[in-house]
Symmetry: C2
Subunit: 240 residues, 2 copies
């Protein structure tokens, strides 16, 4: 059974300010929850239509109708869990770091977190206006990768200014990435969906790179930020 106050708490977590206030975020679906249970994240409460035997003390059995009331999904998937938002971890700047300058779309951030995980990028640093990584749509898109990539929100300009590693930025008019020397240590900055990298951040970039366009030169406007990140991470990581 779900109480009114539980429903109110859970549905409030769609908004960042309530996530910060309560310190919880929402994960839905058996597979996503299982991945997070298997990580160092701490479960707070599990609302489920099927018992997870070993989690009984934190488990609340609910009906499908109750799940529908608290779910953020059009098609709820058997269970919804609240996990504690983890403590902020120090950034380890060895290896490749990805930096996001105001990426706003939750699906894009989720996909980029998953790409970092695939390509072994441990640190993702984000400008303060980048969408929150505990947004339910981001969590749904990461497929558990959120547990393996350290996502930090900070003053991106100051962070980049203080780097001794080279800072690469994705631009339309940069050097052809296929012929660029790409080091193992560095920061790769990706910009906002509509405006790209802001002027303030552009000023602290040491090398501009771009993905050459093979189609009609007058046509395709740009690549989506998540697909551009995929291609650039692949270039950094493949054997040269």
């Amino acid at each position: 059974m779900l109480s009114k106050s539980q429903i109110k708490l859970i549905t409030s977590l769609k908004q960042k300010k309530y996530r910060l206030q309560h310190g919880f975020f929402v994960v839905e679906g058996l597979k996503g929850i299982a991945e997070l249970l298997n990580s160092e994240l701490e479960l707070y409460q599990l609302y489920t239509t099927e018992s997870f035997e070993d989690k009984s003390e934190k488990e609340v059995l609910i009906t499908a109708a109750e799940l529908k009331k608290i779910s953020f999904l059009t098609t709820p998937n058997k269970a919804l869990a609240l996990f504690k938002i983890p403590k902020i971890k120090a950034i380890q700047t060895n290896g490749l770091v990805v930096a996001l300058d105001d990426v706003r779309d939750p699906g894009n951030l989720g996909t980029i977190i998953r790409l970092c995980d695939w390509f072994g990028v441990k640190e993702l640093v984000c400008s303060k206006n980048t969408v929150d990584c505990f947004n339910p749509k981001v969590i749904q898109a990461t497929m558990g990768s959120i547990t393996r990539v350290n996502v930090s929100y900070l003053d991106l300009e100051r962070f980049l200014e203080n780097q001794t590693m080279p800072v690469f930025g994705a631009f339309m008019e940069g050097e052809n990435v296929y012929s660029s020397a790409l080091p193992e240590q560095g920061v790769l900055v990706m910009g906002n969906e509509a405006n790209g990298i802001s002027e303030a951040i552009e000023n602290v970039i040491t090398k501009k790179v771009s993905i050459p366009r093979f189609g009609d030169l007058q046509a395709t406007e740009s690549l989506n930020v998540a697909t551009a990140t995929a291609i650039l991470l692949s270039e950094f990581k493949r054997a040269k």
Copy 2:
């Protein structure tokens, strides 16, 4: 002013069967409409809150409240147009062809069409169960690329069986794509979001390729089909 029958026609076009019946598809937003007006696609009717001077004979001026009634978007964007679904064009199999085996998500298909456009891939062939390219969410995600990529729906198994070009498929356990010989002419097959490439299609693939994983080997399950397509197209097109 919008009549009831116009509203009924437009809103019905969310569904494939009505698109096929009427022969129209919907594009929304000034930018998307402008791109399509600039192509060989034929405009049928333009519903807009601001006049497009040179289109007056096909233009219906409407209010923002009327636009809200016919729009498929949460935030309607000034205009909505119906274009005629173009006649089926013959497939030209020279160069690289991308083939999709039951890709179901409209956002993924839209992103893949945009990637084909970027990388100069003219032909995208789709299994019959792949999401319809005139679905409004696909059109919204393609950003005009739909006018420059020929998308065909066909019996994919038969199409691939009859190819003389090599047929590549993206698999988890394929040859490392970074060290594979990738020809200029060929077909690249990408699979369904949940199940990958089906057994029937697997049987007609001549070479399996995969994108190596650099992160924790036990962890990241897979890449999204659109990001995997981005990386593989980049590999086919970059100078080796």
